[in-house]
Every structure is written in structure tokens, then in C-alpha cells.
């Protein structure tokens, strides 16, 4: 599927998820680093993240990603070693690099070239990082003195062996990144097999990790030559092993080992022997004898076949035949003999017991659960009807029990699926430290973001949509809430402002708060602005309590900032934020304390797919009112509805509450029902923020969890209606958009519409 990168479709999600994790660690960590440069663990974790990212990018051949992560790693190494202070400028460039890395990461999978200027970023990192050269090094573990001494002894002490010392020369591949380590492998291997009398370069040079292209040793062997050759040939990246003039070539250079090379010979020996036994030409004992003769012989050992011929066990003709058969069977020398088992069977994962699944599947699952809930509601309804019709029938009782059981299972299934879909809100919150850092830096303010409850879980559908409103609230807090440091000091406040972001579960809902310790909302100014914009009259403004007045910020076009700053920008206002939240069947409230700060609270359902509602009847149709908006329900006498300024109101506990008849709002035919004949009305008191409204309905049906079906695709936007739901009796119910209704009925901005504004 992919042309540019070496990655398979099944590896892609793992690669992406992991790279995103590393980028997240880097982003959060860099913001933290700016405040706390002395945190060693933090710097170490940052270095590791850059290093890991580089490693994975390298494995898929993403050169640009490797280059940028390498530069990042090098800078972080400097910070780690405390040779490079993490200045705000450096953090800026590093954060910018992260943005580019996100783009480079996007290339993997879509194969489009992103317009990232890697070399410019690398140059900036190098410039700010000074001349940080080597990126990785660890404090040298002290060499064990015993080891060193032992080695010295072997070098200096004369060999008491009878045999001549060997001259060993080893050429290490130029491609080796750590030739000193290869040289050390040679030294250690030789020490196992005898004594090193002389070493060039000396051990101290090798230990300094300086490159070692060639290593020579004068070596007193205690083991047969073939063992020395075998042992050295096991070391990778040795281009040439020369022992007393004999040259053994490195098999990793894709040259088949010559029959005289140790590994090749060993393999040939083994399989030739086995082949002869298989053919019944020699016995296992005879083979062992031959091998012993071969091992004990001095100098270059004779091939096994020749020994067997020499022993008179097989003829030369048979040997040639067997060697031909053997070479036909022989596999590539580096491939171990594979079992005939299926390859994947070998892979047992002990650590990770999780299963990956796609979001699409989860959504499908949730849709199916939705269908099931609709059916459950329908079955409950039928059960009630059946029980009324056939009271006492054992079959109906049994069916009824079964229905209750199926209902309970459905509930469990729903909560299980919901929990699979749950993600911690940290998925959203973890973007904000960077956001606050960047915004504060631009606004020349000093702000700490404190996050609480980031483990609070919510449905992924909510996670996806909650980000934008929160960004807006945070931008507002930075831009309008928190004062500049000088102003804060004058007010006797700490120089650094604080934005507190919290999340928690409460009564099956999510509460998210954004709070700042800034100047608070200037209520007089908000009123003044609203009057200037013609959104209410001076008299109306004067009549508003502070609590009511602060709600004015949710009206369109109201911003209390004296200047439009670069940071919070224009465009999106608090009215859009509220509309977005209420679109999710949620609620947003604001509280402000003059000179002390402002708190926004967002209340959301656990999922967007299923909404707890209150079902009501209006003109024979059923409507669903989201429970999150319902304050209370009332039964009032019809004559208690009064008219003030041409608007119907009721008196609720000494407060005037505007009411509206839903049948009138939706221009439905007004059915006279029995309650009205009796002189009573049902009123559902709903709220949006702090604004309340009484909805007059014909009847209350009860609470029901309904499965939301989007309406907009079918009939477009309808004022006062957000979505549709299918009910237990199969009917379609419309879900009320309470904010829209309140706006329609009471909003100051809608004064000229069908209702006269009431002076409350």
C-alpha cells in the first residue's frame, strides 16, 4: 500500500500510535522543562522519547523524520548533560519541530510529501544547541579492576605453552558504528581461548571507544586453531580474520563460507555425517570417531569426508555423490533450520493482552446497542400492555420475566460497550499545557496550567467534540482573565496566574471546569457593551441582577476585551461555545468574582449516542426533553398563568417565570385535553445557563433513555429541535433543543420576533 516507507498496513497503526505518544511526551515535557529545567528524570524521559522516535522512523526508512529527531535528540542530550540551558527560544524551536514531526508522521500512510523545511529546523536546533556533537554516551561504568589486572597479566606474562604463538590480524568493517566494541569482542574471545601476549592498539585505546580499523594480537593459543577461527568468525562485522597467513572472510558479506571456514565446515560436517547415517552408510559411532580425529589434528583440519574415506568407511565415489546431494539440500548458511510449524505460531505475546480494534467497529457496536435499547424500550411497553390484557396468564408472566431479563442484559451490554469506548479526558487535556505556554508567551503573561482529574473517562464521541469549546475558554482565560504580571503585583496577587482545569464524574454526567484567578468579568462593562450593541435597553440592563448580567457574555458579538488581541482573536464567541455545548445535550454555566477570577462549568452526558430524557405529550405527539436541562416539573392551575407585557408568565416561589406553550411554538393544532378541561396545566421548568423557562405541555409520560438519530440530514435545522429518537412504542420523538427554545422565547436578541420582550 505504501511506496515510500518500509511499513505494512498492520504495522501502521502501531507505528502511528506510538509516535504520537512520543510526540505527546515531548510536547508536555518541553513545556514542563521550561519551568523546571533541573528535573533530571524529565530530561531523561524527553531524550528517550526523541531517541525512540528516531529509532522507529529509521526502521521504516523515514529519512526526514530521522534527521529532525536526531537534531532534537542531540539538543536534549546537551540539556541532559547540563551543557545547554533550555532557553525559551530553544523550547520554541523544539516545539516547532514537534509540529513538523506531526506533519512528517502524517506522511506515513498518506504518502504525501509535507511542506516541512527539515533542514531549516535542524539548522536552528544546531545553532541554538551550539556544537553538541555526539548524542549518546553514558557515564562510563568503572572497569572491574580485577578484569583489567587479569588482562594485563595475560599480555605481559610469557606463555608457558609449547606451541608457537599465533599472529592474529583482524580487520573490522568500516561500516561498523562501534569498531572498538568489535575489537573488544575479539579480545574477550581470545582471552577465553588462550593468552594475549601483545595487542595493537593497546587495551586502553580500545576502551576509549576510539575507532579500531585493524586489530593485531600475538596470541598464545590453549585451544585448537579451528576453535579460535570458529570463535572469531562468530563476531559480526569482521571483514577479515588472518591467523598465520590464513584468511577467513566474513560471511555477512554475502560470500558463502568456503569449505575450509570454520562455520561452513562445521555445518557441512554435521549434515554430511547425518546424511551418511541416514543412508545407512556409516554408524553414529563411526561418525563420532571421525569427528574426534578431525578435532585432534593440528593445523588446518581435513574435511570430514576425506577422513571417512581415509578410515576406509566410504569410497570417494559415494562421498562425491553425498556431497552433491547435500549441497542440493543445503539452505542459505545464515538461515537456521526452520521447523515445519506455521510461522505465526511461534509468536507468543506474554506482556500485552489487549486487542486493537478500529473506531469504526466501536461505532457500529454502539449503533447496534442503540437498536437494542430501542427494542428493549418497545418490549417494556408491550409487556405493560400484555400484563394489563392477560393478567394472571402464566405464559405472559414467563414472557414478562424474560423481557425483564433481556432488558437487564441489554443494560449490562450497553455499559460494557460504553466502557470500551471510554477514553480518559487526558486525551484532550494533554494538548493544553503547550497551548497555554504558547499563548502566555505571546501575551507576555506568566501562567501555570493546573490539571486535575485527567483520568476521568468519557465516551470518545464526546472527547472528539469537547476540545474546541475548551480551547476557546482557555484562550479567553489567558487573554482576558489573567492580568499581566505588573498588574497582578500591583493588586497584591502572585505574579504568576493560574488556570485550573478539572474534570469529574457526578450523577452520570461529566463536569468540566475552566477556572482562572484573573480579574473576573466586569459586569458593568458587559451591560454597557450589550446596550451599545442594541441588544437591550439601558433600563433592561439596569434591571438585571449581576447573576443575570454575566449571562450576557453568551450573546453574540459581546467581548469585554478592550482590544482584540492576537491571541483570542475574533470569530468564535461565547455564543458559539454555548451553542456547541448544548448541541451535545450539555450545559455551560459561568460564575465570576470581581478581581478574583472566573469559573466556567461544562456539564455533559456520558455519551452522545444515548440521552436520558423526559418524555412529554404535545398535541398528540411525543417530545423528549434532555434531563440535563430539566429543573423540575409542575402541575399548575390554568388560571395561574398571567400575562405581563403580552407574555405569559407564572409565579414560581416568588419569581416570575416566563412560560410558553410548546404547541404554539411548533404551531401545532391545539387539542383541548382533559387536564385543561379540569383547569390544570403541566409545566416543565427547563434552563439554559441561569435562564429558566416553563414549557407548557399536555401530559408527562416519564423518563426514558433515548437513542439519538440525527435529524439535520433529513430535514435540516429546525429551531427548538436538536435531534430525533425512536421510542419504545416505535414512534419517532423529537428531542428539544432547550437553548434554542429559550433563545427564541426570551432572548434579548430576539425582541422583535414573535414575542415581546418581558421586563422581568
Amino acid at each position: 500500500m505504501n511506496t515510500r516507507f518500509d511499513i505494512t498496513e498492520e504495522e501502521l497503526p502501531i507505528f502511528r500510535a506510538e509516535a504520537e505518544d512520543q510526540l505527546q511526551i515531548l510536547e508536555e515535557g518541553l513545556v514542563e522543562l521550561e519551568r523546571n529545567a533541573a528535573d533530571r528524570d524529565l530530561v531523561q524521559a524527553l531524550f528517550r522519547a526523541a531517541h525512540t522516535l528516531k529509532g522507529s522512523a529509521g526502521m521504516i526508512g523515514h529519512k526526514r523524520m530521522v534527521d529532525l529527531t536526531h537534531a532534537l535528540e542531540t539538543v536534549l542530550d546537551g540539556v541532559r548533560k547540563e551543557t545547554l540551558p533550555p532557553s525559551p527560544e530553544l523550547i520554541d524551536v523544539m516545539l516547532e519541530s514537534l509540529d513538523s514531526l506531526h506533519q512528517l508522521l502524517d506522511e506515513v500512510g498518506n504518502d504525501e510529501l509535507s511542506p516541512v523545511n527539515v533542514s531549516s529546523l535542524v539548522a536552528q536546533l544546531q545553532r541554538l544547541g551550539g556544537s553538541q556533537s555526539s548524542s549518546e554516551s553514558v557515564p562510563k561504568a568503572p572497569t572491574k579492576p580485577v578484569e583489567k589486572q587479569a588482562l594485563k597479566q595475560t599480555i605481559t606474562s610469557p606463555a608457558p605453552q609449547i606451541a608457537q604463538p599465533l599472529n592474529i590480524t583482524v580487520k573490522i568493517s568500516q561500516d561498523s558504528i562501534a569498531s572498538a566494541a568489535r575489537a573488544m569482542q575479539v579480545v574477550l574471545a581470545l582471552q577465553e581461548l588462550g593468552e594475549i601476549l601483545e595487542l595493537n592498539p593497546p587495551l586502553s585505546v580500545i576502551e576509549s571507544a576510539a575507532p579500531v580499523p585493524t586489530l593485531t594480537a600475538i596470541f598464545q593459543a590453549k585451544k585448537p586453531l579451528y576453535e579460535i577461527r570458529k570463535s572469531l568468525s562468530m563476531i559480526s562485522e569482521l571483514d577479515e580474520i588472518n591467523i598465520e597467513g590464513e584468511i577467513i572472510q566474513d560471511e555477512t558479506q554475502k560470500i558463502l563460507p568456503s569449505p575450509s571456514s570454520a562455520t561452513g565446515e562445521k555445518e557441512a560436517r554435521r549434515s554430511l555425517g547425518e546424511l551418511l547415517i541416514e543412508h545407512g552408510l556409516i554408524t553414529r559411532e563411526q561418525l563420532q570417531d571421525a569427528l574426534r580425529i578431525q578435532q585432534d589434528s593440528e593445523g588446518p583440519s581435513k574435511p570430514l569426508g576425506q577422513i571417512l574415506v581415509g578410515m576406509g568407511l566410504i569410497s570417494q565415489e559415494i562421498l562425491d555423490e553425498m556431497i552433491a546431494e547435500q549441497s542440493a539440500q543445503k539452505k542459505a548458511p545464515t538461515a537456521p533450520v526452520a521447523d515445519s510449524e506455521t510461522p505465526e505460531k511461534g509468536r507468543t505475546k506474554v506482556i500485552d493482552k489487549t486487542v486493537r480494534t478500529s473506531v469504526e467497529r466501536l461505532d457500529n457496536l454502539m449503533n447496534l446497542i442503540g437498536e437494542l435499547i430501542t427494542d428493549r424500550n418497545r418490549m417494556y411497553q408491550l409487556r405493560r400492555e400484555m400484563e394489563a390484557l392477560y393478567r394472571g396468564s402464566p405464559q405472559v408472566e414467563a414472557l414478562s420475566d424474560t423481557i425483564i431479563h433481556v432488558g437487564r442484559i441489554t443494560d449490562l451490554l450497553q455499559s460494557e460497550v460504553m466502557s470500551i469506548r471510554m477514553l480518559p479526558i487526558s486525551n484532550v487535556f494533554n494538548k493544553f499545557p503547550r497551548l497555554v505556554r504558547d499563548l502566555a508567551r505571546k501575551a507576555n503573561k506568566q501562567i501555570d496550567l493546573v490539571i486535575r482529574g485527567e483520568d476521568t473517562e468519557l465516551d470518545r464521541s464526546v472527547i472528539e467534540v469537547i476540545s474546541d469549546p475548551l480551547i476557546h475558554l482557555i484562550r479567553n482565560a489567558v487573554d482576558h482573565g489573567i492580568e499581566p504580571p505588573k498588574e497582578r503585583i500591583e493588586k497584591g496577587k502572585p505574579e504568576r496566574g493560574v488556570i485550573l482545569l478539572t474534570a469529574r464524574h457526578e450523577q452520570g454526567r461529566i463536569y468540566i471546569t475552566v477556572e482562572d484567578d484573573g480579574r473576573g468579568i466586569d459586569i458593568q462593562r458587559v451591560k454597557q457593551k450589550a446596550v451599545e450593541k442594541g441588544q437591550l435597553t439601558q433600563a433592561e440592563a439596569d434591571a438585571l441582577s449581576d447573576e443575570e448580567a454575566v449571562e450576557l457574555i453568551f450573546l453574540s458579538g459581546l467581548s469585554t476585551a478592550r482590544t482584540v488581541s492576537d491571541v483570542s482573536g475574533r470569530g468564535v464567541g461565547m455564543d458559539i461555545v454555548r451553542a456547541n455545548i448544548e448541541q451535545l445535550n450539555g450545559n455551560i454555566q459561568v460564575e465570576t468574582w470581581q478581581g478574583k477570577g472566573t469559573q466556567f462549568t461544562i456539564i455533559l452526558p456520558l455519551t452522545l449516542a444515548i440521552v436520558p430524557t423526559l418524555l412529554v405529550k404535545v398535541s398528540g405527539s411525543t417530545y423528549a426533553i434532555p434531563l440535563v436541562t430539566v429543573n423540575e416539573t409542575l402541575r399548575i392551575k390554568s388560571k395561574d398563568i398571567q400575562t405581563v407585557n403580552g407574555r405569559p408568565v407564572i409565579n414560581l416561589r416568588e419569581h416570575v417565570l416566563p412560560v410558553c406553550n410548546l404547541a404554539e411554538v411548533f404551531a401545532l393544532q391545539h387539542h383541548e385535553n382533559h387536564k385543561q378541561k379540569e383547569g390544570y396545566e403541566y409545566v416543565v421548568v427547563v434552563r439554559s445557563g441561569k435562564t429558566q423557562l416553563g414549557l407548557i405541555v399536555d401530559d408527562l409520560i416519564g423518563e426514558e433513555e433515548v437513542v439519538v438519530k440525527s435529524l439535520s440530514s433529513v430535514i435540516g435545522e429546525v429551531v427548538g429541535i436538536s435531534n430525533a429518537a425512536i421510542l419504545g412504542d416505535g414512534q419517532v420523538a423529537l428531542i428539544l433543543d432547550v437553548q434554542g427554545l429559550i433563545k427564541l422565547v426570551t432572548s434579548w436578541s430576539e425582541r422583535s420576533s414573535r414575542f415581546e420582550k418581558v421586563a422581568v
Binding site: S56, E136, A141, A178, T334, A335, G346
Partner: protein
Amino acid sequence: MAKILVVDDAEFLRVRISKMLSSEGHEIIEAENGVKAVETYKQARPDVVLMDITMPEMDGLTALREIRSYDSSAKVVMLTALGQESVVLEAIKAGARDFVVKPFEKERVLSAVAKLVG
């Protein structure tokens, strides 16, 4: 066929290496840091360990030393990267049998393993 413990904090690397090795019929077990590597080594007694160096909790060099002090015949191959020359040298001194440099080809990993289990 051998039992191989693949240690790397990057899941992608573990998956990639495991795939390379299991296609040759090896049995793979995985660990995501040095601490888990040492634990898993003691439980599963693998024939070969492929050990990343830079990892959280416990780095590969420390894990190598712990494994070698538990089992002096442990066969450990280090998975290293450019710039880690001195660590690799330390690892070899501590008894690592080989090292493979990232990014590596399948053949390179297979040959390192084959040398140790062949």
C-alpha cells in the same frame, strides 16, 4: 527454533523484530523495559535476548548486567543506535555477545540469532 526474548520500549520495534524472527519459526516473548526483561528472563529462560539500550525503568546495559549475573551463560544481543559507541563497548565488556545497529535489516537480526543458536 529458539526461544527469543525481544526487549524494547518501542512497541513498533518489538512487533517488527518479532515478525522477522517468527517467520523463521522462533518462539518470541517480549518485554518493554529492563525490569520486565530481567523478570521475564528468569521465568522463561530464553535462548537469546535481543536488548534495546535506551529504555525507561531500567536501561538495557543495566538489564544486561543483571541477566548475566543471574545466568552467566545468557546470550544477549544489544539493539543499538548511532551515537551509542561507548555504551556498546560497555555492553560487550559486560558480556553481550553481539550488537545490531538500528535501523537494521531482517538478515542482520537473523544472522545474529543464528550465530548464537546455530
